[in-house]
């Protein structure tokens, strides 16, 4: 086999040598034969002629020799490539459009796959292996990826035969006290974590094994490159520097370089030991931490084998006394194996949207190529009649489309690779604003493989249909001349038209989805929230105290201070079962103090707010929002009505069960998720601040919010030294909620815009082509008295009917999607009137304009010349 490949290689790339050898071998034969004939008595001239005659047709022997080396296939491929090159050079407009359209769609898809692979798909590389998670999977398939220290140790011990390195890890957020109070994001890890991280510490050392279980007198903290910059301002001499983290003194023992990238989605700023985390937790009276177990497998061990090694382990699940979950090993991306299924599900519609764009691109190019090959149909028909096999002609046309698509992928790849990081930054901006760096993702060999595979699929997809269509046997008759010009045949026209209709339908779907998402995201604008989310600041203290409240109230720039059991705009506080007017309901309770409505400036529409005495005594009174009142008591007056709380104390809701009397009706606010709109289940009950209960402190800023944020950090550092303090305006929660909608909306808008544009280019090309083809017919009609307007109209009619058919096909698709989305996300406006009204109108207008430009040429056709050409 190797020999044969060597011969083929020599024949392909040592072409000149091969030809020269063949030439001299045959020349040698002729010379020897001539000598023999001369020796037999002939004259040299006669002998030479005789020798040539005996050997026969020299060229055909050479051809046969080349054929036996597989060179003919190469030659015909080179011929096809040259043919394709010539064809593409001859129509630069088509080539440029095709490269653009394919480049954009292939590049976008390669980008999506790269991002998806990095986060979700298997095998983030780590220290020469692929990253794995250990999970306990119960009978229902639900997975748990956090374990107690004892369980985790058991897994690591049992997995010694399968893992190259296994370690325990837990995410930590610690209060960092410097001149002000801030939060540091990091991980508690066992020492073996650093083995696979790559690179040596740039300064000092990493954690050692003893530190897993023994707490040093002054525990050490290892900083990442990002932590060193963000937390220490890139201090040139960081080693030994003290850091007060959640009230405990640590000292910096090492700094890692930027190459030590963790394979978590967010880069830790610091690492502390397991012993340090456990002692922090117990000192702050918190539950002991749970750990994820991660690692890389030994070479040659598969995840199935590793799961087998851990097969003996079974852990009892909380709340299910009898259930024992087996422990298995799974590959992971930047997201943990436990998160992956949810993301995978969410990625399906995104994947479909990207695939749709590639599909639209292919449909559009199929359309353009059909128009193009149809223009060459005479040439093709003649070649077919002259005996060229259909397969040969189809192959030639396919090589042309493949050259285009592969070239497009090669052009798109650098752009795609360069765009990943900026796009990731853009999407992660709300997270970066919290002071945490996302793990950068980059293009790799897979990006190239995916782009090239997609390009081959696309090339075949848009090339095969037109190639088969135009080489159909029944078309060969045309070469005879009788149908060579004039009316176009049914086949290509129908296919082209259907492709055009499909493109318009798909563009419509993408654009309507984009518009709906954008409209839903903009519904969260500040005016609609019900309070000024930019001026209401969450003090962000993990352990608020009376001291903190007192100091805040006295801080200049803070107009009012209040406490609540659940932050507005931070999701559902947790529903509570009640009975109202004989019905069972589940309502969102918030326990608030008497300052709540005043601080947030939520108007009391009727009745009254709470008084301090009620807050202190946990009186059984309640305030409901107007929307809640309307929903619960649609006919009667809500004031004076009763809500019966069934269960006892919940952490965020009413402290005691019993009948609560509605004493006030407040203005509507968006308090949970913005896409749920104004809350229609919001109930407020009074509660005084209690240091033992979970509570959030909100303040209203007067004047510059940024200055107030600084004051908050300073006050926190003094009043609650060991607590995390991350003050932020409530608008940041809103931004976080909006982020996925914004990203999805922008992606859909870009994709929809691209698809729409591609369709318009297709429409333009198609109409232009039609005008060229119907030149003679239009000329005759002009000569017979048709006005230019009429001629343009007749061309436009064809385009308009394709657009209308596209809309007719696309709108039901949109409606189906809206129904689906509406069912999945009850809070969003699925059928957004403006999206359904404006988008189709816009698309129609742009499409008709694209058709109008070439159609106008129909009016300029000079009847005489058009008929003469015929």
């Amino acid at each position: 086999m190797r020999r044969r490949l060597r011969l083929i290689w020599r024949a392909w790339f040592g072409r000149a040598v091969f030809e020269a050898d063949l030439e001299s071998e045959l020349a040698f034969h002729l010379a020897e034969r001539r000598d023999a004939l001369v020796e037999a008595g002939g004259t040299p001239e006669d002998a030479a002629r005789q020798a040539r005659l005996e050997l026969g047709m020299l060229e055909s022997h050479k051809e046969a020799c080349r054929g036996s080396r597989g060179l003919l296939a190469l030659e015909s491929l080179l011929g096809d490539l040259r043919y394709a090159g010539r064809g593409l050079r001859r129509s630069p407009g088509f080539t440029a459009t095709a490269l653009l359209v394919l480049g954009v769609s292939i590049g976008a898809n390669a980008l999506f796959f790269t991002v998806y692979r990095a986060y979700v798909s298997k095998g983030a590389p780590r220290g020469g292996g692929r990253a794995c998670d250990v999970v306990a999977r119960d009978r229902t398939g639900a997975e748990r990826d956090s374990f107690s220290r004892a369980e985790a140790n058991e897994i690591v011990a049992a997995g010694a035969g399968a893992f190259a390195s296994a370690y325990l890890t837990a995410e930590v957020r610690l209060a960092l006290r410097q001149s002000t109070q801030s939060a540091a994001y990091g991980r508690a890890v066992s020492a073996s974590y650093f083995r696979g991280l790559g690179g040596r510490p740039r300064l000092g050392r990493s954690l050692i094994r003893e530190e897993d279980s023994v707490q040093a007198e002054v525990p050490g903290v290892v900083l990442s490159d990002s932590g060193w910059k963000r937390l220490l301002g890139a201090d040139p001499a960081p080693l030994g520097r003290p850091l007060i983290l959640s009230g405990t003194s640590f000292q910096v023992i090492g700094v890692l370089g930027p190459e030590a990238a963790d394979f978590e989605a967010l880069q830790p700023q610091l690492w502390i030991s397991l012993a340090a985390l456990e002692s922090l937790r117990s000192r702050n009276l918190e539950d002991p931490p749970t750990y994820g177990v991660r690692g890389t497998l030994l070479p040659g061990i598969s995840i199935e084998q590793a799961s087998g090694v851990l097969g003996g382990l079974r852990f009892r699940e909380a709340g299910a006394d009898e259930q024992q979950s087996p422990v298995v090993v799974e590959h992971r991306g930047l997201l943990s194996a436990g998160d992956a299924p949810g993301i995978r599900l969410a990625a399906v519609p995104v994947f479909l949207a990207f695939a749709l764009v590639l599909f639209v691109a292919c449909a559009n190019l199929a359309n353009l190529s059909l128009a193009r090959v149809a223009a060459r149909e005479r040439e093709i028909a003649i070649r077919l009649s002259l005996g060229a096999g259909r397969a040969r002609v189809v192959r030639q046309l396919l090589v042309e489309s493949l050259v285009l698509s592969i070239l497009a992928a090669l052009i798109a790849l650098p752009f795609c690779a360069g765009a990943i990081l900026p796009l990731q930054r853009l999407a992660m901006r709300p997270i970066e604003a919290l002071g945490v760096d996302p793990t950068p993702i980059s293009a790799d060999g897979w990006t190239v493989v995916i782009a090239l595979s997609l390009s081959v699929i696309a090339g075949l997809a848009f090339g095969l249909g037109p190639a088969l269509q135009v080489t159909r046997r029944d078309l060969v008759v045309r070469a005879g001349g009788e149908g060579g010009r004039g009316r176009a045949r049914l086949g290509p026209i129908t296919l082209r038209r259907s492709l055009l209709v499909l493109q318009i339908a798909l563009s419509l779907v993408l654009l309507v989805v984009a518009s709906s998402l954008g409209r839903n995201a903009s519904r969260s604008s500040l005016q609609q929230v019900g309070f000024d989310a930019g001026r209401i600041l969450d003090a962000g203290s993990s352990r608020p105290s009376r001291e903190l409240l007192r100091r805040l109230a006295a801080t200049p720039g803070i107009a009012a201070v209040t406490t609540t059991s659940a932050l507005p705009l931070a999701g559902n506080p947790g529903r509570q079962s009640v009975r109202v007017a004989g019905r069972s309901e589940a309502l969102d309770f918030r326990a608030v103090d008497d300052q709540f409505f005043g601080t947030l400036e939520i108007p009391l529409l009727r009745g009254r707010s709470f008084v301090a005495a009620e807050a202190g005594s946990t009186a059984r009174v309640a305030v409901v929002s107007a929307a809640t009142a309307r929903r619960l008591w649609p006919e009667g007056d809500a004031l004076g009505q009763e809500i019966q709380v069934l269960a006892e104390a919940s952490p965020t809701g009413p402290a005691t069960a019993g009948h609560y009397e509605v004493v006030g009706i407040s203005g509507d606010v968006m308090s949970d998720w913005f896409f749920q709109g104004t809350a229609s289940s919001a109930v407020y009950v009074p509660a005084a601040f209690d240091e033992r209960a979970p509570a959030n402190v909100l303040v209203r800023a007067q004047g510059d919010s940024d200055r107030v944020l600084d004051s908050l950090r300073r006050v926190c550092a003094v009043a609650a030294p060991s607590a995390i303090c991350e003050p932020a305006p409530l608008s940041r929660w809103l931004a976080l909620q909006r982020a996925p909608f914004d990203v999805a909306g922008s992606v859909a808008a870009i994709l929809g815009g691209a698809a729409g544009l591609i369709s318009c280019v297709g429409l333009f090309g198609s109409v232009a082509f039609q005008v060229t083809r119907r030149r003679r017919e239009l000329g005759v009609r002009g000569a017979l008295g048709a006005t230019p307007a009429r001629l343009v109209g007749s061309v436009l009619m064809g385009a308009a009917s394709a657009v209308l058919l596209g809309l007719a096909l696309g709108l039901p698709l949109c409606a189906g999607l809206s129904v689906f989305l509406g069912a999945k996300l009850p809070g969003i406006v699925a059928f957004d009137g403006r999206s359904y009204g404006v988008v189709p109108l816009l698309l129609t207008t742009v499409a008709l304009l694209a058709a109008l430009l070439p159609a106008l040429r129909a009016a300029r056709i000079e009847p005489r010349t058009a008929i003469d050409e015929g």
């Binding site: 020999r3 044969r4 011969l7 050898d21 001299s24 071998e25 045959l26 040698f28 034969h29 010379a31 020897e32 034969r33 000598d35 005996e54 050997l55 026969g56 047709m57 055909s60 022997h61 046969a64 020799c65 054929g67 036996s68 080396r69 597989g70």
Partner: protein, 116 residues
Amino acid sequence: MSTPPQSLLPGTLEVLILKAVSLGSEHGYGLLLRLQVMSRDALVIEQGALYPALFRLEQQGMIEAEWGLSEKNRRAKFYVLTAAGRKRLASDLKGWRSLVATMDLVLGARSLGLSR
């Protein structure tokens, strides 16, 4: 008395070439002469068919080629048999002999040879 020259049975050129090469390294023209001598001029091998067959056998790894000098000091391409070629020749010979024996049996039969 010499028999008139015979044309080749289809598919037999390659085995003849292999046999000719198996007798020692030789160039294309020499192989042609060799076959003529071996068949006592009974076989006519079309000269043009020889070279594509040689290329095919080389491509299949049955023979190897090397450039050298002929007796008359001309640059010529010499072919030798490879191990694979030797194996192929042996199996082709076996097949050929069994075919000839079978053909002889059939063509030389005087009666059906079946007796009860």
